[in-house]
Symmetry: C2
DNA sequence: CGTGAGTTTGACCAGTTGGTCAAATCCCGT
DNA sequence: ACGGGATTTGACCAACTGGTCAAACTCACG
């Protein structure tokens, strides 16, 4: 294990390579389906060498998860109480969709965890995420009460946004296979914008 | 391996118990994350005894998958070209949602596979599923052309239905944690009905 | 250069896993 | 109750996996 002095050039490079490789491997095979050897090879290192930089397979996973969760919720946090309600929501949808396009591995890593019962994420979900959802659900509710957007169950509204946008990352293989030549991300932004505009625009 | 004569009472019982146990285990740990011992114990058998009924772990998985795929697409097949368009779609959404409530393990099993790149499912997706989607997408398109429902990309419309309904099974842990006491399936049917009604009801 | 910390690796270990096999036991029809 | 096929199991194996370790090598820096 490298000393926790300021990291050397080599340490920075290798730790980054390991995390990058681990993201690839974990997101496509899940935690238990991935082997340290696989990650090491993908990072261009030997297994003992990899374990020189991280104390264990789980440590790699945890660091990856922590890194991911830090940025994953940013789009939701950015939902602005001062903004124009409908436009705020539509912008949130588009930000989320863009994350599915730009960081599909992160999305799949998260999906893998949740589908399997989130054994390593329960605290975060019940903690930070829950607080944030509660806050934003109230914001949505207040917008509905003020007649700025149509009424709908606020939490289900949030779930639907997550579901629809992350679907393009998590089910990428299926979506692309069924779309053939057409790139799913060509029509997706417009489809989702239309969907939420029709759903939420107040009826005169 | 039992002879392929007509199965005995014991064979029927044990094969059923194994598949039931395997569905439980595979859907929560994925293929590689599950062990034969785990499945055997969950089925109340010893490992060698389980392997007396199925030649391998993969054979169990394949049988489970084949069984699943048979019924998974029935709701979509039932989309009736002769029916009232909007009501047909809304009924499809509700059927799909009900499947997420009644067979969440099947949904998660499928999700696990797709998220991990569908290594064992590519043919089915590119084959039967693709044909069915093509057919139903055209049906939706014809309903739009006839002005029976609002315009939207037909395939993305189908994706959104799958995504929204299966989310309640696949992300069950997250959804339930964030909803607290409230049962997600209380409000979900109405939320989805509202969503698709607002989206698809033709504007005068 | 040289020297010591930083880096890399081959060999190794213990636990797990999918799967086999012969022997033991159970069950059913006669 | 008994014979033979159906069922069950303990013991076992080879491959794999996460992780260790001491020895070797490399690099930055005086």
């Amino acid at each position: 294990m490298p000393k926790d002095r300021s990291p050397t050039r080599i340490q920075k490079k290798n730790r980054a390579a390991i995390l990058e490789a681990a993201l690839d491997v974990f997101s496509t095979h899940g935690f238990r389906g991935s082997t340290v050897d696989q990650i090491a090879k993908a990072a261009g290192l030997s297994k003992p060498n990899l374990l020189y930089y991280f104390p264990s397979k789980e440590a790699i996973f945890n660091e990856l998860m922590a890194e991911l969760l830090g940025t994953w919720l940013d789009p939701l946090r950015a939902l602005d109480p001062e903004g124009e309600p409908l436009e705020e929501i539509l912008a949130y949808v588009q930000r989320k969709l863009q994350m599915s396009r730009d960081f599909p591995r992160e999305s799949r890593l998260y999906a893998n965890e949740i589908v399997q019962g989130a054994p390593r994420l329960h605290e975060v979900i019940a903690g930070d995420l829950s607080d944030l959802v509660e806050e934003k659900a109230q914001l949505l509710q207040s917008w509905m009460d003020a007649g700025k957007i149509n009424r709908a169950h606020p939490k289900h509204l949030l779930f639907s946004i997550w579901s629809l946008t992350q679907h393009y990352a998590d089910f990428d293989v299926q979506v692309r296979t069924l779309m053939g030549e057409e790139d799913p991300f060509d029509a997706a932004p417009e489809y989702l914008e239309t969907l939420y505009r029709r759903m939420l625009t107040p009826k005169g």
